[in-house]
Each structure stands twice: as C-alpha cells, then as structure tokens.
C-alpha cells in the first residue's frame, strides 16, 4: 500500500487534536503463579467466568475458575512474558472473534488473527465465541441434502444441511480426506466451508490448504488452525471460534459447513488445562464437564426456520479412536450428541476400500429426508446388499460348492464394494452417482468383470455426458429418476460399446 507522509501526519494531527483525556477506572489483581498456559491471580473479586483479562505484558487471558481467594485463568497466546506479581486488569468483555466476508479465503488462528501472511483482516464485526445455541422454535427439521460427492456417503449415510454427522475412525483411515472431498464438492453450491484444525501438524494443515487452493475451494472456505505447537487454551477455543464465524453466515441466510478436525484433541487440550486449573479429574482423567464442551459446541449446528432466513450450519466433527474402540469416553459422548456417524475402518482402508466406510456401523439419523428422490429410489437396497455380502463373505471362504443364489449375492456384493470405492479429491456429482448405483442395483454390472468396474464407471460417466446429457440434466433439475426405459437403454448401449 503506497502512502504519503503528509497523509499520515494529517491523520495523526487529527487524532492528537481530538484526543480525549480520560480517567481509567479498572479493577486489577496480581499474578500469583503462571505456567503451562495457566495463571492464578489474586484480586479481581468481581471477575466473571469467561471474562477477558489483560496482563501488564499485553497478553490476554480468560477467567475460568473463580475461587474464594483467587482466579484461575487460561492465557491465550504468548505467556512467557508474564511475570509473577504482574498487574492484571479486568476488561468487562467476553472473548470475540472477527466475522464476516473478509475472512473467506483466509487462514486464521483461534482468536481470528491471520496466519497466512496475506495482511490484516479488514473485518469490523465481531461476535462473542460463547453464545447460547439456537432454540427449538427458531429451528426447522433438516430437509435439504448436503452432497458430499462421495458415493458411499451420499448413498448410505446421507447428510442433510443443518445435521451433525460424526466422522470416527483410527488414525490414518482417511477421515480428513472425507471432509476435504466434501468441501471440494461444495464448489458453486453457495455453501461456505470452515475447516477447523485442532492440534494438527502444521504440515497437515498446510497440505489441506494447498489441496483446497489447487481445486479453487479456498474461494468459499475459511481455515481456523490451532496447531499442535500452540498452548492448550488455543486448541480449546478453536472450535468455538470456528462455529462463531459460521453463525454470522447462517444468520445471513447462508449455508455453512464446519469441519472440526478433531475433537479428541480438543478434549485432550481441555483435560490438560482443567488438570492444571486443579479441577477434579473424572473418567480417563477428563474433567466433569467434558460432555458439555462438545454438546454446547455441536448444538450450535442448526437449520434455521424460514422467518430467520433458512440458513444452516452443518457440522462434521471428527473423533480419533484407538484400535477401533468406539466405547472410549469421548467417542461415546460425541456419538450420543451427533445425528449419526460415519465409521472408517482401518482394515478396509488397508484392503484398498477407500473411503473405508463401514456400512454396518455407520448411520445417519436424519436419513432419507436428506436425500434427493432419485437417490432414495436407487440406494434403498444397497445397505441390505452390502450387509448380506459381508455375512456371506466370511462363510464363503470355507466352501467351494455354493448354490447359484449365494454366488449371485457374492458377485453383487463384490461389485457393490467396487462401485463404492472412490479416489481422493474426486467428488462425483449426485446425478452421476445415481446412474452408476442404478446400473449396479438393477444388475447391469453383474456381467462385468470386477476389475473392470471402475473403468466401466468412468466410461459410463463420459458416455452419459456426451451422448445422453438430457438424462443427467433431468436428474439435476427434477431430483427424480428419468424414465427407466430411457436410462436402461442408455446403459445397455454403453455396455455394448464397452464390451
């Protein structure tokens, strides 16, 4: 930005001239102890829970424990410059983050400071990060689909706008890929995406940002990053900062997708600071309110009613399990809060079934109301097909003499698994998904070799696009299946070419 010296001095003159002499009245205390992102402060008798306090060094903190003779506070940001005996001031404010359009395309930390080196964020509006979630009367039930672009998710565990769908699985099972693909698929659909990275490696966050940039997804995304190197209070507040930015858009009537990657690390950060604040530990050493930190966060995902503009926040929280253990404390908590879960299984992932979704353990409680009619029609039997295949699969390994119907079931199952595979960063529009699943459940693929299925799928998409674009257009516009004879004819004629 080019600026003239006179311009600056004019501004300065104005500022100095109009400067008002004010007497500052504030309540102060002194730092008793400080360390590990936690400070104990004597004084501040009237401080309120969650209030922002200011240290003499300029650092800010948040009052957490209000004890009879001292205040326990978490320090946001740099705490090494704070000394014992420093003065601490009350501010009377609660923590807020910048919100609005200026944030789109940016990478920020938990308190809304830019960390992408693209200069300051020009946002005049702030919202407090802890607010009460939208009430019952302001909501509407989830009815529009949020297309993830993943066949396995859109067909088996459909997600609706305003839903909270947990993504759970061991490390290295492709959880982040599911979320990134979902973000990529929102291109051009007027959905703002917020990716909150909690306790992730800086390199991981960087690669996610690079992927989003490469596919042009940063144009409608915000990344909130509290990486592993940050002190635990920053990790703890990051998801609230993310959902606060989302709420601004939701109340403008827009649709928002928020990904929390991942909440187990947030719970661990909260455990750390709770233990340091000497709150009593409970199961797995988590404090008593570890359920509440997640429930109040996820309650803020909502679908607003028409009077409030019909905006929505869809939440995709992540939980990392240890060796597939779904009954760990935080995992069961979040499972019970959300409207369903997508379980990623590491055995499937290593067997090359990617996304490694375990259809048996994955559910979506919003279900069919979040699917377009066409998908509802074709995907109805898919889950049953898969379940019976998984059952037979184990059994079939023993005997070679199988009757015809069992063999047919096995063949169908193998093809189903093959069709649901999908490479990363290649979301597929729902109309194409409908066509390939239609072909699958109606037996068109039974005569195709399993190893040729993916080639067939790609070919079919190209064929439909070039030769029968009317069919795709029909699904897109009416959300319903076209005339089945036309669709059958199209698939048959492609099959003839393919063979």
């Amino acid at each position: 930005m080019a600026m003239k010296a006179e311009e600056i001095s004019a501004i300065l003159r104005k500022q100095i001239k109009e400067y008002k002499h004010v007497l500052d009245v504030s309540e102060t205390g002194t730092v008793l102890t400080v360390g590990d992102g936690i400070a104990r402060i004597h004084g501040l008798q009237n401080a309120m829970s969650g209030e922002i306090i200011e240290f003499a060094s300029g650092a800010v903190g948040m009052a957490q424990n209000l004890d009879s003779d001292n205040v326990g506070a978490i320090i946001l940001g740099e705490y090494r410059s704070i000394r014992e005996g420093d003065e601490v001031k009350r501010t009377g404010r609660i923590m807020s983050v910048p919100v609005g359009d200026a944030l789109i395309g940016r990478v920020v930390d938990s308190i809304g400071n830019p960390i992408d080196g693209l200069g300051p964020i020009d946002s005049k509006k702030f919202r407090p990060i802890e607010v009460k979630a939208t009430g019952v009367m302001d909501r509407k039930s989830v009815h529009e689909p949020l297309q993830t672009g993943l066949k396995a998710v859109d067909a088996l565990v459909p997600i609706g706008r305003g839903q909270r769908e947990l993504i759970i699985g061991d490390r290295q099972t492709g959880k982040t890929s599911v979320a990134v693909d979902t973000i990529l698929n929102q291109k051009g659909l007027d959905v703002i995406c917020i990716y909150v990275a909690i306790g992730q490696k800086e390199s991981t966050v960087n690669s996610v940002v690079e992927t989003l940039k490469k596919h042009g997804a940063m144009d409608y995304s915000i990344v909130v990053s509290a990486s592993a190197s940050q002190p635990s209070p920053m990790l703890y507040v990051a998801p609230y900062a993310g959902v606060t930015m989302a709420e601004e858009f939701m109340f403008q009537g827009k649709h928002v997708l928020v990904v929390y990657d991942d909440l187990s690390k947030q719970a661990a950060a909260y455990r750390e600071l709770s233990l340091l604040l000497k709150r009593p530990p409970g199961r797995e050493a988590y404090p008593g309110d570890v359920f509440y930190i997640h429930s109040r966060l996820l309650e803020r995902a909502a679908k607003l009613n028409d009077e409030l503009g019909a905006g929505s926040i869809t939440a995709l929280p992540f939980i990392e399990t240890q060796a597939g253990d779904l009954s760990a404390y935080v995992a069961t908590n979040v499972i019970s809060i959300t409207d369903g879960q997508i379980f990623l299984k590491s055995d499937y992932f290593h067997a090359g079934i990617r996304p490694a979704i375990d259809a048996g353990l994955s559910v979506s409680r919003v279900g069919g109301s979040a699917q377009i009619k066409a998908m509802k029609k074709v995907a109805g039997t898919l889950r049953l097909d898969l379940a019976s295949y998984r059952e037979l699969e184990a059994f079939a390994q023993f005997g070679s003499d199988l009757d015809a119907s069992t063999r047919a079931k096995l063949a169908r199952g193998e093809r189903t698994v093959e069709v649901l595979k999908q490479p990363v960063n290649k979301p597929i529009p729902v109309e194409k998904q409908v066509c390939i699943i239609y072909a699958l459940v109606n037996g068109f693929l039974d005569s195709i070799d399993v190893k040729d299925i993916q080639k067939f799928e790609q070919g079919l998409y190209a064929f439909l696009e070039n030769e029968r674009s009317g069919l795709l257009q029909h699904i897109r516009d009416t959300k319903d299946l076209p005339d089945t004879s036309e669709l059958n004819e199209a698939i048959e004629s492609f099959k003839a070419v393919f063979n």
Partner: protein, 181 residues
C-alpha cells in the same frame, strides 16, 4: 492474601477485641509486637522454629511479655504457640487489620505519582475519593517516575489511573487502529 487459617485466627482475634471494645489498643499492640519481632530476628526465629519445644518458646515469650500478662495479645501469642501456628503471625495480623479497617469503614490504598505529592494534594485526593467510595480513604504515597506525570491510585485492587503514561498508551492504541483509506 487471606487464606483460611489466617482469616480464621484474624477473625477470632478481631471478635474478641471488638467485644472488649479494645480494637485500637490491640491494633497498636500488634503493630508494636510485630515491629519488635522484625527488629530482633532472633526472637522471630525462636517463635517460628519447628524444633524448639513449645514450653521453651512459651517461657521466653512469657518473660518478654510479662508486663502485659492476661492481656488479649499475651493470650493470643500463647495460643499461636500451642497450636503451632506462629509462622502465620504476619498473615493473621494482616487479616486482623483487614477486619478492623472494614469495621471502621476505612479503605487503605496507595497513590503512585511521578513526583512527590504535597500534603495538601494528598488530603484533597483522599477527600475526593472518600466521598466517591463512601469510605474513609487512607492513601500511602509512593513515587514512581515511570508514570511520567499525573498519578495512579490503587485501592484494594480498584485502580484509578490518571497518569500520563496511561494517556500515552491510549494514544498509541488509537493511532495503531486508525483507518487508512
């Protein structure tokens, strides 16, 4: 800082003194006693020594305080030794003072200024603050050249900042947030 032990002992002593209508007397006695202790470190060491038998300690202090036998202070010191709480003496005195000041409606504070304030200025400031806080304000002046100019009053954690340093900090903040078009 008032913790449980010091405030319990301080309150008990305060209540007794209030009953006997001897708050001021006890207050001065306590002050004299603690000053005496400060000026003779040996005496303090004996009082808080963990290895000395209680009887020895009591003997020494009985002799020292012989002329005020059966007074509140005398009994208080004996109780402290008996209960092994002598090390909390300073805190207890602070707690006692806290309750006494509260009782008389006095607020003690410090006023820091860049240059020493005159007695007139001090009394004017104290009078204004007394009216504002509805308490008798006692100010303890300190000189802090870091304030550059003006003064800064701290009464029990409530700070009234009218220093040049604060004004300059404010100006700096304002200049940093100027909108540049």
């Amino acid at each position: 800082m008032l913790d449980k032990t010091t405030s319990t002992y301080g309150k008990a002593l305060f209540d007794l003194a209030l009953e006997a209508n001897a708050l001021e007397q006890v207050d001065t006695q306590l002050e004299t006693f603690s000053q005496a202790l400060e000026s003779t470190p040996d005496a303090k060491d004996i009082l808080i020594h963990s290895q000395l038998p209680k009887e020895t300690k009591k003997g020494i202090f009985m002799a020292a305080l012989a002329d005020m036998e059966d007074s509140l202070l005398y009994n208080f010191i004996m109780v402290l030794v008996d209960k092994d709480r002598a090390e909390y003496l300073d805190g207890i005195i602070a707690a006692f003072r806290h309750f006494t000041l509260e009782h008389f409606g006095i607020a003690e504070g410090t006023v820091a200024s860049a240059v020493a304030l005159s007695d007139l200025q001090l009394s004017q400031l104290a009078a204004t603050l007394s009216k504002k806080l509805d308490k008798t304000v006692k100010l303890n002046p300190v000189v802090d050249p870091g304030l550059i100019g003006g003064y800064r009053v701290n009464i029990g954690g409530n700070v009234f900042d009218n220093s040049l340093k604060f004004q300059l900090d404010q100006l700096k903040q304002n200049l940093l947030t100027v909108e540049l078009s």
